[in-house]
Assembly symmetry: C2
Homo-oligomer: 596 residues x 2
Amino acid sequence: MPSYKAPLRDMRFVLHEYLDLPGEAAKLGLTDATADLIDAVLEEGAKLAEEVLQPINLPGDRQGCRLENGVVTTPDGFKEAYKTYTEGGWGGLASDPAYGGQGLPRTLATAFGEMSSAANMAFSMYPGLSHGAYAAISLHGTDEQKRLVLPKLVQGVWTGTMNLTEPHCGTDLGLIKTRAEPQSDGTYAITGTKIFISAGEHDLAPNIVHLVLARIKGSPEGVKGISLFMVPKFLIKPDGALGARNGVSCGSIEHKMGIHANSTCVLNYDGAIGTLVGEADKGLRAMFTMMNEARLGVAMQGLAQAEIAYQNAAAYARDRRQGRALTGPKEKDKPADAIIHHPDVRRMLMNARAFAEGGRALLYWTALRADQLAASKDAAAREMAEDLMGILTPVLKAYLTDMGFQSTVACQQIYGGHGYIAENGMEQFVRDARIAMIYEGANGVQALDLVGRKLAANGGRALLATFAQIDKLLKDTAGNASLKPWTDGLAGARKDLEEATQWLMANGMSNPDNAAAVSNDYLYLMALTMLAATWTGLVATAQAKLAKGADDALFYENKIKTGRYFLTNILPATGLHVARLKAGSEPLLAVPAESF
Amino acid sequence: MPSYKAPLRDMRFVLHEYLDLPGEAAKLGLTDATADLIDAVLEEGAKLAEEVLQPINLPGDRQGCRLENGVVTTPDGFKEAYKTYTEGGWGGLASDPAYGGQGLPRTLATAFGEMSSAANMAFSMYPGLSHGAYAAISLHGTDEQKRLVLPKLVQGVWTGTMNLTEPHCGTDLGLIKTRAEPQSDGTYAITGTKIFISAGEHDLAPNIVHLVLARIKGSPEGVKGISLFMVPKFLIKPDGALGARNGVSCGSIEHKMGIHANSTCVLNYDGAIGTLVGEADKGLRAMFTMMNEARLGVAMQGLAQAEIAYQNAAAYARDRRQGRALTGPKEKDKPADAIIHHPDVRRMLMNARAFAEGGRALLYWTALRADQLAASKDAAAREMAEDLMGILTPVLKAYLTDMGFQSTVACQQIYGGHGYIAENGMEQFVRDARIAMIYEGANGVQALDLVGRKLAANGGRALLATFAQIDKLLKDTAGNASLKPWTDGLAGARKDLEEATQWLMANGMSNPDNAAAVSNDYLYLMALTMLAATWTGLVATAQAKLAKGADDALFYENKIKTGRYFLTNILPATGLHVARLKAGSEPLLAVPAESF
């Protein structure tokens, strides 16, 4: 059985020492987020993840969800765990106090989300989807919708869903067929079939608030005729009590590669009563509020699965004895040495470790931009935060889920044959992590979003802000000799990114196929460059602590060593991405479509 | 439901046009292997794979194996399929006619193996394991063992297994605890527990011949005291009839990530009667005969899963319509264009295609070395074949299974959310392909075998032979202007490989941790260089055919285009491998073992 220990020391390092979250939160008026409170939340969150959520992760995978007569039963223990979760107020950590939330920074909620998702990804998706619904309604909903629904979502009394995909359309939402017929009372009757609806039906809460994309009768074809509707499983009376069952039902649940304990539903809408969220025909915009929220959440899932896989692989490598270290026995009294002494095992562990530590810091840094965007009084700061988030959301969604998956595979490999056996749990991390590369916009779509949309928006303002961020860091650290390997690495990556950007401007505008063909390499270049900046900051923080004679010297020394591994063994990939990028679209498209 | 169509055109290209298998086979005295016969075997093998094996692949995964009272039941249809398989003589394609085999080239059997494994990996492992047992007994067994067992294995009347792993030891076989007590009649009583025994118990054949590593009472500790035994499930009477049930039983079958339809058993030996295979205490040598055989077979599994995943992803990409091509609608009469027109989808398909085509050619080329080793009358040619195989066996085992797995993941990605759903079959390819990176020596162990054993053996003779092979190709093609991009690519990769080899000699001998730390990068460099050589040969072959005005111009043009994709988008990784390699072991080992 695998185990999980929340990486609290590293989380505190990132939140307090690297980001100064208490200071930043105070600047944003989030004065509740003191250092003590942040630590208390981390400690309590860790207990929940370790003691309540993780123990039901592997059994939940084995048991899965069950559909009988339209009713979905979640695995044993999920109902109790959900009760504990909601009673602890975990669902509303960063939500508006006006609706019962705790108003804490998103950055802190992201750290808690990482723990929860590492401990039990399938479970965490139930409250996770509620966050997306909360975001869409709070930004686009009517006062009445907010009044009736938001407190329930914040407290976790009800849950939410996102209904986009239909059998014939996923990425291309312009093809949506689900239709909405206006009723005389201002509501709409929704009819159609939605698929892949995570947490679409379950037994954790008495009501589910579905947010559904549909086309109002008479609206234009394509994406310009799509509206967003709120369709509760049970109708909601004006006093908030539950009314009649609405015309939405679960037709089947999918048999999937992983996240077995999360019910992925086919939902059939048969004249279900819904109310419009936001403006008619502007549903995609409202839906993208949820999507962006969700995309950073999915990036976090990639990181989280890498972390728990790393922890278990490290423990196994310390414990499993096979062969002798090549430089002579390390444990002479034992029949063999622990496999952690084998350099190739160490290589796999270091890859996962460098990924998890760097990825965590960059993700939390990005989450802090979300706090700034939401709460800063300074318009320029809000714009900067929005620009950086715009760039980093697709980058993190794709890179952290790709590398998160690869990390779970490498950590499974450390177990040898035992990693392939279900009871040891490593293969579940691989199967669960796999979906994160696909949903909320497949990673190829993220790369297109970055290259086709985010770079060009507002005359390239966001990209300039990103470069400015890097240049400021390079300037601020210019005199620091001990930091030179990292600043050199960052400057090299920045140069590669600039070269790639110039290539893209010269070749991608005239031929969009060029931009699309290299989008994946460009996204990786951006991710590696931002990670180089992140590691520069992490190492500078650690060096400063050591210089002050910190108690916890080993932690900081290891941080610097892990940062060096990033420099020597991960960052050099930027050159490969530039080389591939410069090949353009021609080699990819040369074989005719009919010949595949 | 996925489908499979054996890639016969490409197989014929490799076997006839690139390798000239009929000509090479004739030189080795394998005169039965005419061009016509080779084609007939391919055609019939394709039918078996497509019509018999593939249809029970996905259902077999869903149903899995069942253990009741020590008896394992394979999924529906497996017994019938196995009967068809053995009646067709497929198990003995390359086996000795003296035992009922057909004596055809291993190269051809490898092509058939690819089809069979692509269509149904779990099924193909049942006869696959018999090959390993056949190889070990035919090389090391007594005349009596050969007489009693080999015809049965060749005809598939019985199957075979390999019993190495125990709960506490896999890679480190020196720790084996299973013991063999000599009996007065010359047999041994075997007692111990073996785990992860593929096809260890099943209902396909009335008897199973287990080859078991155990330590004879009084033998030395460690690897020098291990012997190999033949332990049949039912004792075999001198006339070949089945006798009493032997003292071996299946304690449980593993619940695994994939290959559900192959029974992976815990086998308990309780005084089971076995006979020695080869010399006492020299069991590892005999077992390595099976392992090397098996390792090329596992490499083939990686290739095979990539091929079937590619085929289905390509079909889906041609069929699934989402969005419009970026350069304007391609299918104006349809509501959207097929996703094959999206460059990022094409990138994933081209990666898988270039891998499958290049990997196939290199694997078959290596299998031809096995034929030369087995049948050449020329001692120098045998030595050269053995040297090249020695280098390429670990390289192909690791690289083809790593990249095979990655290809299945990328092809699953093309399906979007539908790739995560079990019924579509793509996720099974990922789960099945995953084991090939682990078993028969985890890929990290392959890299150590290459760097620690194969390079140094016989004063580096095999490595010199490998370089000589490349240099001869470069010399032979020096005047060919149309081939220049490929010969330049090959020369560049060769230079990187040489630089890495020199680094290894300068740094790996003095510090074995350096050699181990970079072994994975070195293996990838070797794989990419050998693939560059392979593509140079494939493209030269295609160009020559086009120059002669071949009917099938599109096939050859696409081959050249795919070869160019290899040059621009895959081969440039050699530079990254050299850069990482030169970092040596220090960054990997800097964080102390206790800090993981």
